[in-house]
């Protein structure tokens, strides 16, 4: 009975392991800690914003603005570090306040005007990128020495792989995200909103606060992701991170979270990120695909993973139900 809740997570995990095994059997090189380290570092920004997206989707919403917010964060940081002598840490604080407020504002509009999140955040997406354009259309390098200091922080793993600062930030965000979702009132409220809005309201969930909190959290994490992205590229660019929202949504959903809300896990999103990273790594390692085959293969693999996950779910749901009934019957006769 209990495991039915964790079924999608389990299915995703099995799919990931299967996928990795297949990759390794084709390219033994992929077993190295270097590849593992790259997987974490390269997807750090995506992972961080996907944690925020998980909360949004768990609550039954969606946030299309994250990609633009990441770009805005980068542009804002690069411009402010270029034009003023503010310390990057102070700039980080400012930008996080801004993006959090931006998210909160969207949450407010969604709740108080009763508008669909898809549309509100779509407007937010236009707005954030529009503001980035206004700040600068050129890509601006960040040359502050503090950035190099941060970029130099990493733990060397056996085998030459690196666990970089940004990878560590991502792992920390995931850990905190899991705790927030599973072990706090806010987390339960998020699930409650996704389960059934009216019921949640009637059961006394502070819907307004929670909705605003969710989008503020997503804004905050998108800002943090933007900071990580700027560390990753040492630059700000208004065209950066186009379409990241779709990648994040895909990671969340591949991770077993229901887009209609209420069911899913932050840990699943981590698996979703890893699966997507795996697909990309595989394609690069292969290195023979033309541009168009790359797209097709990504689509096919996406389909493969989702179909496999569906199949696993379907099979184990069936056996779980049979088991449940068996145990219920046993309970009844034994009682």
């Amino acid at each position: 009975m209990k495991n039915s809740k964790y079924l999608p997570l389990l299915a995703t995990f099995v799919v990931f392991v299967l996928g990795y095994v297949i990759c390794i059997s084709v390219f033994p090189n992929m077993l190295s800690t270097r590849v593992a380290g790259n997987l974490l570092t390269d997807n750090a920004f995506l992972g961080i914003t996907a944690v925020g997206m998980t909360f949004v989707i768990l609550s039954g919403g969606i946030d299309l603005s994250v990609g633009s917010v990441i770009a805005f964060t980068g542009v804002f940081l690069s411009v402010i570090l270029r034009d003023t002598s503010i310390h990057p840490l102070a700039a980080f604080a400012i930008v996080l306040v801004l993006t959090t407020a931006f998210g909160a504002a969207m949450g407010g509009v969604i709740f108080f005007l009763d508008m669909p999140p898809f549309i509100v955040t779509l407007a937010g997406m236009f707005l954030a990128r529009g503001i980035s354009y206004l700040l600068t259309t050129e890509s601006v390098p960040i040359t502050h020495p503090f950035y190099s200091t941060l970029q130099e922080i990493y733990i060397r793993m056996p085998g030459g792989g690196r666990l970089t600062l940004i990878a560590m930030i991502m792992l920390a965000v995931f850990a905190l995200g899991i705790i927030l979702a599973q072990r706090t009132r806010f987390g339960t409220y998020v699930y409650a909103l996704g389960g059934n809005l009216t019921s949640a309201q009637l059961m006394g969930v502070p819907v307004a606060k929670t909705t605003i909190g969710i989008y503020a959290l997503s804004g905050f994490l998108a800002g943090l992701s933007g900071i990580v992205f700027s560390l990753y590229t040492s630059a700000g660019y208004s065209l950066a991170a186009v379409g990241v929202e779709l990648d994040a949504i895909a990671a969340v959903v591949i991770g077993g979270t229901l887009l209609t809300g209420g069911y899913g896990f932050v840990a699943g999103t981590f698996l979703g990120i890893c699966i997507q990273g795996l697909i990309q790594t595989y394609i690069v390692f292969d290195g023979t695909l033309s541009s168009w085959w790359t797209k097709i293969v990504i689509g096919l693999l996406l389909f493969g993973f989702i179909a496999l996950q569906r199949g696993l779910m379907w099979m184990s749901e069936r056996s779980a139900r049979n088991m449940r009934h068996a145990s219920a019957a046993a309970q009844a006769s034994g009682a």
Partner: protein, 344 residues
């Protein structure tokens, strides 16, 4: 009496459209002037109708999909695929009817693929259609081999994109015809009701004997067909199939058009007429921005701001406030009526 109700229900959209058109006319004085050039009506207003064709067509299919609580992210990619198919068929010597039939068939197949994932495999629509959104452009490029497949010497296909009939540009004729057809089929049959019911409560609909799977499949198929039509028009318009850019991000515009038109993303009640107006609102906005001559960096901000204003004005919250206001004036009448009802 059908037309007046349709218009009455869509008053907010009509007002918004009128305001935006008026703004356009203020910014560029010749906006409303229409003249005949080369036997064809010519003017900014015609441009709005003409350029709006792809989004309008996409919005028709998208409305039906959204009414079932779904979403179709793949329409832009399907446009690219179909454009590529049409271009490669016509350049390899097929006749126009064969080309069009082939193109529409491919669009239909794409739609059925999406529908099968959603209806049969129960994959969430956004992810189901994301697959084709990602892979679709690849398929289109595979067909064109990465180049812009031009057909400058095929006037029959070009006619679909830039020809004119009865002085109206072909794309306008096509979308108007498709729209009328769609509205007739959906509203004169019971299809509209069944679609709405599936969107509101799929389980209850299935239990009441609605063939939900088939209808879902059909709705995505129609969306594929609409995207195919839009794809042919887009390719014919530039006399070539641009696998990379045809229909790029148009799915977002189409969704926006549907929402501006008053159909909820949560499924259920839908309005095709509203979506058409939504598409026209978006296109007038685009054309207006182009005519205004602002630096392009401002495009997005202006668009976002205006969309926000439109949405806030017609958000359920403000609508409810309006309705309450109106209701309060009618309260007395209804109260007596309901008392009579109770007395019976």
């Amino acid at each position: 009496m059908a037309v007046p109700t349709i218009i009455r229900e869509r008053t907010p959209q009509l007002i918004v459209l009128a305001v935006i058109l008026a703004l356009n006319a203020i910014i560029s004085p010749g906006f409303f002037s229409i003249e005949i050039q080369n036997d064809r009506l010519y003017g900014s207003l015609i441009d709005v109708l003409n350029r709006g064709a792809p989004v309008t067509l996409l919005a028709i299919g998208m409305t039906l999909v959204i009414a079932t609580k779904g979403i179709d992210l793949s329409v832009g990619a399907v446009m690219a695929i179909v454009g590529a198919v049409a271009a490669s068929l016509i350049t390899s010597g097929y006749s126009l009817p064969a080309t069009l039939a082939g193109a529409l068939f491919v669009g239909l197949a794409c739609g059925i693929w999406n529908g099968a994932l959603v209806a049969l495999l129960d994959i969430q629509p956004i992810i189901a259609t994301l697959i084709l959104m990602v892979a679709g452009r690849g398929i289109a490029q595979l067909i064109t081999e990465g180049v812009i497949l031009t057909f400058n010497d095929k006037p029959e296909l070009i006619f679909v994109g830039s020809g004119s009939f009865l002085s109206l540009p072909m794309p306008v004729i096509i979308w108007v015809v498709v729209a009328i057809l769609a509205i007739l089929v959906v509203r004169r049959s019971a299809l509209g009701l069944l679609i709405e019911a599936i969107g509101v409560n799929r389980r209850a609909s299935t239990l009441s004997g609605v063939n939900s799977r088939v209808i879902l499949l059909a709705v995505y198929a129609v969306s594929g067909l609409c995207a195919a039509t839009a794809g042919v028009i887009a390719a014919a318009d530039i006399k070539g199939a641009d696998a990379n850019n045809a229909g790029l991000w148009l799915e977002m515009d189409a969704i926006l058009a549907v929402v501006i038109g008053g159909t909820s993303l949560l499924g259920g009640r839908f309005s095709l007429v509203g979506s058409l107006m939504g598409a026209m609102i978006i296109q007038s906005l685009n054309t207006g921005i182009l005519m205004a001559g602002f630096p392009p960096e401002f495009n997005l901000i202006i668009k976002a701001a205006i969309i926000l204003i439109i949405l806030i004005v017609q958000s359920p919250a403000s609508q409810a406030a309006m309705a309450n206001f109106r209701a309060n004036r009618q309260t007395v009448a209804i109260k007596t009526e309901s008392r009579e009802h109770a007395a019976r």
